[in-house]
């Protein structure tokens, strides 16, 4: 077994109403300490109202070589973008 602590990915919600955003990663022996460490490493400047941590090993990622098959077909379908609707000014964070 590796002596290194496992890697955790850290997600922070900066304010209510916004989604958690990936801010970086850190090492910790378990989830509780990962939260504590995330608080110390990533929220020193009043960044957040909520923290998520997930083991990096548990995140399933798409392969870079699948980029063409996964994303290119969306490129030429402009009608899928909601760019034709005027947005009211009062609506924020959309």
């Amino acid at each position: 077994m590796s002596k290194e602590w496992p890697l955790w990915e850290v997600f922070i919600r900066s304010q209510h109403g916004l989604a958690h955003k990936h801010v970086g990663s850190l090492h910790a022996p378990d989830a509780e300490m990962a939260i504590n460490n995330a608080r110390d490493v990533y929220t020193r400047r009043n960044e957040g109202v909520s923290i998520w941590v997930a083991r990096a090993a548990d995140i399933v990622a798409s392969s870079p070589s699948d980029k063409g098959a996964l994303f290119e077909p969306a490129n030429n379908k402009v009608y899928r973008h909601p760019t034709f609707f005027p947005m009211p000014e009062e609506v924020k964070n959309l």
Binding site: W5, L26, H27, A28, P29, E32, M33, N36, N37, R39, D40, V41, R44
Partner: protein, 250 residues
């Protein structure tokens, strides 16, 4: 009034000396995450120092601000308890010192949030949020390392046994502390001691550490200015610049 100034100096000096000690570990923590956490605690304590010493200087009214109080007093005028000036030692020593301090500190601040002095109440309300986290963190690490490997357990038990004699001074009230209790400025010693011992007993039990006897003989004197040899070295480093280049500033 004089008693209150002394009382404020004690609080400020505790926070300042522990902060200075933790600052010596910046860049030397066992892991990046621990390093950051220790510096955060040090910064919190430094912020609290400024509030305590600032208020002390104002009450004294001799034109000594927080900086003059920090940099131009000699060891004998320092009022911190002996616990905070004990060397960083191994990480087990650093952590155990922190946990013993945090426990007392948390329950003290909790009591001070009901102080009759409005300014002290304000400082306590602001600080207790920071110290709640300090206590949670150091307690968590006591449990992890106490109930960790054979080696970590042995190191934590040794650290606890060696530092224990410095854990009682904060609860030994002299006439200054007593005057503060009578004016309803500070919480009474008995309650504070009981709350602290209860919390320590819980954590030590979970950490599979043997708690030394609360009635053991305790070192004392720091609050009255009688310090161990360590404080002189801490101050020599901390005060060097102001001593060598008086009145220099940014």
């Amino acid at each position: 009034m004089d008693a209150k100034i002394q009382y404020l100096l004690r609080q400020g000096d505790n926070a300042m000396i522990l902060s200075q000690q933790l600052c010596q570990l910046v860049g030397k923590g066992p892991a990046l995450e621990e390093d950051m956490a220790l510096s955060n605690v040090a910064l919190d304590l430094l912020g609290q120092t400024r509030m305590w010493l600032g208020y002390a200087g104002e009450l004294e009214g001799k034109g000594r601000d927080e900086d003059r109080l920090a940099f131009l007093r000699d060891a004998i005028e320092y009022r911190n308890c002996l616990l905070v000036e004990q060397p960083n030692g191994s990480y087990a020593d650093t952590l155990t010192r922190q946990f013993l301090f945090d426990t007392w500190h948390y329950f003290l601040l909790d009591g001070l949030t009901r102080s009759s002095d409005e300014r002290i109440r304000g400082i306590a309300l602001k600080s207790v949020k920071e110290v709640t986290y300090h206590l949670r963190r150091s307690g968590d690490l006591m449990v992890r390392l106490g109930d960790g490997s054979e080696k970590s357990h042995a190191m934590m038990q040794t650290a606890l046994d060696e530092l224990w004699m410095y854990s009682g001074e904060m609860f030994l009230y002299d006439e200054i502390d007593q005057a503060m209790v009578e004016q309803s400025v500070a919480p009474a010693s008995e309650l504070l001691r009981q709350q602290s011992l209860d919390h320590m007993a819980d954590i030590f039990q979970e950490a599979t550490l043997t708690m030394p006897s609360p009635d053991a003989w305790m070192q004392r004197g720091g609050k009255q200015g009688r310090h161990s040899e360590h404080l002189g070295f801490i101050l020599a480093e901390m005060q060097f610049l102001q001593r060598a280049y008086p009145e220099s500033s940014w």
